[in-house]
């Protein structure tokens, strides 16, 4: 049923970096997502996104880092009203699964969490040939246990079409 109402979807691989206090031990991470896109108008889409983000931690332990799997809903607004070009996309959601595996007092501890997710996403939608692409920059924060994990990502996504816009 979902495939009849999702006009298209996309998938992405991106580079991420944890930012904020006590994140200097994190090296670059990688993130991927699949996103369902429901067209509301020529300039607006409602989006649902399932992601998986992995951040590697070099703190002297082995196999350490953070994994975050957020499920988010968003509203994507194309600034020029065409469905291409620059857009902004606020997102809100829930972290389905999160774990930080960190070196504490000589031992590796796995700290599991969930929490609310907020993201501010902006990007540029464009075509190369007939292939729609989305170059985007995102700031995302996960809030749980009175703390937050914050990260930025830069990614390029490609579209998987299930339907077409009216003017296509």
């Amino acid at each position: 049923m979902l495939f009849f109402i999702v006009t298209h979807s996309d998938a992405q691989l991106g580079v991420m970096k944890m930012v904020g206090k006590n994140t200097s031990n994190y090296s670059f991470g990688i993130g991927a997502y699949v996103k369902g896109i429901f067209s509301v108008s020529q300039s607006s889409d409602v989006t649902v996104e399932l992601g998986a983000n992995i951040f590697f931690l070099n703190d002297g332990g082995s196999g350490d880092g953070t994994v975050i799997i957020p499920l988010k809903a968003g509203y994507r607004y194309s600034l020029n009203g065409t469905g291409l070009g620059f857009y902004v996309e606020p997102q809100i959601g829930y972290n389905i699964y999160g774990v930080t595996s960190t070196y504490v007092d000589g031992n590796t501890e796995n700290l599991k969490f969930h929490g609310l997710v907020f993201a501010a996403n902006t990007g540029y939608l464009f075509l190369i040939g007939n292939t729609p692409l989305d170059l985007n920059l995102r700031y995302e924060t996960v809030v749980d246990h009175g703390g937050s994990d914050n990260y930025v990502s830069l990614g390029l996504s490609f579209y998987l079409h299930f339907g077409k816009r009216d003017n296509e």
Partner: protein, 188 residues
């Protein structure tokens, strides 16, 4: 309307990202709420007692601290070393545990080479003589805090002139009854 909503959303993100700790750090702190109380380090140097007490030790920073165990990168490697550092009214005391702060015994012997340990009223005390040593026992290491005890036999440095330092009577500085409690472990 969309613009106002987006600005409001950005404010929510900004405020949430201003939370003081990462989720992992907050969870570690939650595991032992009482650990935020007081950190202490005390020892006797030739019978004179030196005591340092820090209220709210978890609130110390890299530029403003008195008693911490810091985790720092080890030159040119992916390893990190843990070091205790105490700044008291009489001077500084420092000791490097190594790559672990698990419960156990840690010592530095005179045969390893000269090493600064503490400064007491303007005089630096070193592990220098082959019979010198400084030993730490970590008796508790959990929830980002360590506790334990220590003792040592040191040699005073009379005149600093590296590499030709002038030392006093070997083994003339005795560190006894040393203990530390609830010292927070920081990674800057």
């Amino acid at each position: 309307m969309i613009r106002q909503l987006f600005i409001f959303f950005l404010m929510v993100i900004f405020l949430s990202s201003c939370l003081k700790q990462s989720i992992a750090d907050a969870m570690i702190a939650d595991q032992d709420p009482g650990a935020k109380g007081v950190a202490t380090l005390t020892y006797q140097i030739n019978g004179n007692t030196v005591t340092t007490t820090v209220n709210g030790p978890d609130d110390q920073t890299s530029t403003d601290y008195q008693l911490i165990c810091s985790k720092d990168p080890y030159m040119g490697t992916n390893l990190f070393v843990y070091g205790l550092d105490c700044l008291s009214t009489s001077g500084e005391l420092t000791f490097t545990f190594g790559t672990s702060i698990a419960v156990g015994h840690y010592s530095y012997l005179g045969s390893y080479g000269d090493m600064f340990v503490l400064n007491y009223n303007g005089q630096a005390e070193y592990v220098h003589d082959p019979a010198d040593s400084i030993s730490f026992n970590i008796t508790s290491s959990s929830n980002g805090h360590i506790s334990g005890n220590f003792s040592g036999i040191l040699t005073p440095m009379i005149v600093a002139g590296n590499p030709n330092n002038t030392y006093g009577t070997p083994g003339s500085v005795l560190i006894t009854n040393g203990s530390f409690k609830n010292v927070p472990v920081f990674s800057w």
